[in-house]
Symmetry: C2
Subunit: 244 residues, 2 copies
């Protein structure tokens, strides 16, 4: 019961935003739970590539070196599953479902890293994804029980830490200087994103082609872009127009 109390206390600390340092969070987690290692990754997935935005972990430089030099990210099923879904990914489950990823787990064993753990997907707004991977030094049975009791703690802790990370570094604030688009500008952009030409949009909206171009020009100016194509890319990225 005193353990329960420690967990609740830790979650309260996290919720009050008292933890934006990854190292601090990792220490807190390892002190509260029987966790061997932690990894937090924020990335932008596109096609089958990954653009890493933030990466923090406790596996050490040597493990990272091994992972990089052997290009293990190419076969890592945990990355694939966690950044592509919203459900917790059990490491052993991933291992059995993707036989081609054996080199990854064998490399881990080589350098003395356990192969039991779970990865929690943390979807973020704006198409980015993150994950918190938790690695434990336990037997399969032990882990099964431990996981059952603490997955909820892991999930909430991960969410709160992720929230703190996002709020902390939401600073790139390049989009605040943006003028608001009017209703017509949004409509015109929406139809352009659907592949309609000026003439078609004019017909759809029941206005003249010249007027469509007028709205589009205003939209380009407000978005600070040089072509309709770029305007639509911006609008989709910043969720300024709905999916049709």
């Amino acid at each position: 019961m005193t353990e329960q109390q420690a967990v609740l206390d830790m979650l309260e600390i996290l919720e009050c935003g008292g933890c934006v340092e990854p190292a601090h969070f990792f220490t807190l987690m390892r002190r509260t739970f029987r966790i061997a290692h932690l990894l937090y990754l924020e990335a932008e997935p596109f096609a089958d590539e990954l653009k890493i935005c933030r990466l923090h972990h406790t596996f050490g430089a040597y493990a990272a070196e091994i992972y990089r030099t052997r290009s293990l990210h190419r076969i890592d099923p945990i990355l694939k599953l966690a950044l592509g879904g919203v459900r917790p990914v059990e490491w052993t489950m991933a291992r059995h479902r993707f036989p081609e990823c054996e080199p990854l787990f064998q490399s881990a064993q080589e350098i003395g890293i356990s192969t039991e753990g779970v990865a929690l997907p943390l979807p973020s707004p704006a198409g980015r994804m993150a994950l918190l991977a938790i690695n434990v030094n336990m037997s399969a049975d032990e882990w099964s029980t431990y996981r059952r009791h603490h997955l909820r703690d892991f999930q909430l802790a991960a969410n709160l830490f992720h929230a703190a990370m996002l709020e902390h570094a939401a600073m790139p604030g390049a989009f605040s200087t943006r003028e608001r688009l009017t209703g017509r500008e949004t409509e015109v952009l929406t139809w352009a994103a659907a592949g309609k030409s000026y003439w078609e949009i004019a017909t759809i909206l029941g206005i003249s082609e010249r007027t469509v171009r007028f709205f589009m020009t205003n939209a380009r100016r407000k978005l600070n872009v040089v072509s309709n194509t770029q305007a639509v890319a911006q609008a989709v990225r910043h969720a300024l127009i709905p999916t049709v």
Copy 2:
């Protein structure tokens, strides 16, 4: 402790994917916890509008009617906060921070709905957002303690249910028929999304303008679209190109 057991059992049921019916999930939640009402909303936010994709709740038709006729969605701070962030939103906190939303809480009291609760943001891939709102019939003190103990359960349950909903209806499968884009096609699309013309892209990539058009044509064909603008919109939506 038997209550703890019930909670763990419920979470296990959810994790095994045994619950994709919202009504079923709501019943399970209300049986396991002291919850008055639940609401699950999946929506696509754009500008300050909302496109509702899925909505399930237990508040009843009358409450929904009141909410709609009085346009309470316009002032609802819970929608705004939960669909714009990743941190749990406490109802009373929202009420105090946004004085202009009083009509919402007064309407709730009018029809006998408690004003204590929490909303859990559930970010989804592809720019969509969802939330699970939990409404309880408790005094502020009671709720404070209850919430402290069970927020982690709510969060995990919400995540697992949300995952089940996404997996269940990911079927609109319009994008599975899509051919994979090659490296050059992706590059060309990326630069087009950045507002570059064919000539500029050709210069950047060190190839002829004709070749740029060749790649773009292939990309349009593969994406089944009619213009570069539409191609870029599609590519951004399906996360086929990185943010530059």
